[in-house]
């Protein structure tokens, strides 16, 4: 039976991970296996972890304001390493104007402050099931 594995990662230099942990907890309670990397990860570390853990989805939590640069770096690196098919969502302090930019970079969903956990869980399920049916596995 397929069990979805989700990586929750904190790229960049901000030192706050309450939000990342709350989201990880909600996904755990929704039945997912959540791998957490801890604070201050480089895009390289995150992509290597995603490869070794063979995850189905990556969630990036970014509060530093560097979400455009960091998300782009992670997604570019994922493509280079051959895991560009794994969807990436971003959560954190994201100005509304940047949401379309993130989507353009290739991020599948953006969750700003105050997003209900139930919505995150719901959309994560949609993304995962969409990916599964698209790849036919």
């Amino acid at each position: 039976m397929k069990k979805y594995r989700i990586l929750i990662a904190k790229p960049g230099l901000d030192g706050h991970d309450r939000g990342a942990k709350v989201v990880a907890h909600a996904l755990r309670d929704a039945g997912f296996e959540v791998i957490y990397t801890g604070l201050r990860q480089t895009p390289e570390q995150i992509v290597k972890t995603a490869i070794q853990e063979d995850v189905d989805l990556i969630g990036l939590s970014i509060l530093s304001g560097a979400h455009l640069q960091l998300s782009k770096k992670v997604i570019d690196l994922m493509k280079k390493e051959g895991i560009g098919h794994v969807p990436v969502f971003v959560g954190g302090i994201i100005p509304p104007d940047d949401v379309p930019k993130l989507l353009e970079i290739g991020v599948c969903r953006v969750f700003g402050p105050g997003t209900p956990l139930s919505r995150i869980v719901q959309e994560v399920k949609e993304v995962l099931e969409g990916v599964t049916s698209a790849s036919g596995s």
């Binding site: 069990k3 755990r28 309670d29 997912f32 296996e33 972890t49 490869i51 063979d54």
Partner: protein
């Protein structure tokens, strides 16, 4: 084999264990030291493993780690957080770390652990480290998976009554008093030494470490390596591997039995089950294999 392929194979082993034989039989058979780390939650197993990896890497050895954390009995989800303690190895190609949820298996591991360890050995890692979930007193499965079992304790673990209890205390080859920077280290160390003396066991198997300050790590790694080499020389390793096969088989048998029982429409729990098992066991004993 590249990390991406190894990672995919582990997922296959975890999700479709019935295909494990097919997957593994295409790989060469190799033997590497398999070292188990067990102990209560919060004694510092992951941080200790982090230091052990660093030590092994400094002598050029490649290391695979599988770290198991518990699955929720309610949602079946899991929070796998052991990696957080092993960050400094994320970019090292000589280290492969895999987090694994226990998925309801008792014993402190995950049912596919035997296959995953075999995979790590086959693809050529020099050492395989297995971290159990933070265990209580009776999760002893790691004894059958690992060649050398390291039990990690820390001050505040409990009184000497704990040391005398059956189960987890008995299965270790090496006892680590971790967090040796804390008060209570010496008294735990002394209690352990007297416990082992009383049990007629090797007192030199106790090591004080402070994983946080990298103290005692060299001594621990030396003990682990020396013991594994001794096991290999004396034939104990062969014995241990035989036991591992048996327990692997036991796991398979349990899983198969559960599968068939869930499909069967029984009117009586005794109906046919014992007879079927007995005839299967007869076949196994006579070396005819378990196939039908």
């Amino acid at each position: 084999m590249d990390h991406k392929s190894i990672a995919r194979l582990i997922t296959l082993l975890e999700n479709t264990p019935e295909k494990a034989k097919e997957i593994l039989s295409n790989l060469p058979r190799r033997t590497a030291p398999v070292i188990g780390f067990t102990g209560s939650p919060g004694v510092g197993k992951s941080t200790l493993i982090d230091q052990v990896i660093a030590k092994l890497r400094s002598s050029g050895k490649t290391v695979a780690v599988v770290a198991v954390d518990p699955s929720s009995p309610f949602s079946q989800g899991a929070f796998l957080g052991d990696r957080v303690r092993m960050k400094k190895h994320f970019l090292d190609d000589g280290v492969f770390i895999r987090s694994m949820a226990s998925r309801g298996a008792l014993g402190g591991l995950n049912e596919s652990i035997y296959d995953v360890v075999e995979l790590f050995e086959s693809v050529g890692f020099d050492y395989v480290l297995v971290e159990t979930v933070g265990v209580g007193q009776a999760e002893v499965e790691v004894r059958y998976v690992a060649d050398v079992v390291v039990l990690v304790l820390s001050p505040g673990f409990g009184d000497e009554m704990q040391l005398l209890k059956a189960g987890i205390m008995e299965i270790a080859d090496i006892y680590v008093v971790n967090k040796a920077d804390l008060v209570g280290t010496d008294s735990l160390y002394d209690q352990l030494v007297s416990f082992l003396t009383f049990a007629g066991r090797d007192v030199s198997s106790v090591v004080k470490t402070s994983a946080l300050n990298a103290q005692g790590i060299e001594e621990l790694v030396n003990k682990i390596t020396t013991l594994w080499e001794k096991f290999a020389e004396t034939g104990k390793l062969k014995e241990l591997r035989k036991q591992r096969l048996k327990h692997h088989a036991e796991n398979l048998a349990r899983r198969t039995l559960q599968k068939y029982l869930s499909l069967a429409d029984l009117e009586d729990p005794y109906e046919g089950v014992e007879a079927a098992l007995r005839s299967m066991c007869e076949r196994l004993k006579n070396g005819q294999g378990g196939g039908t």
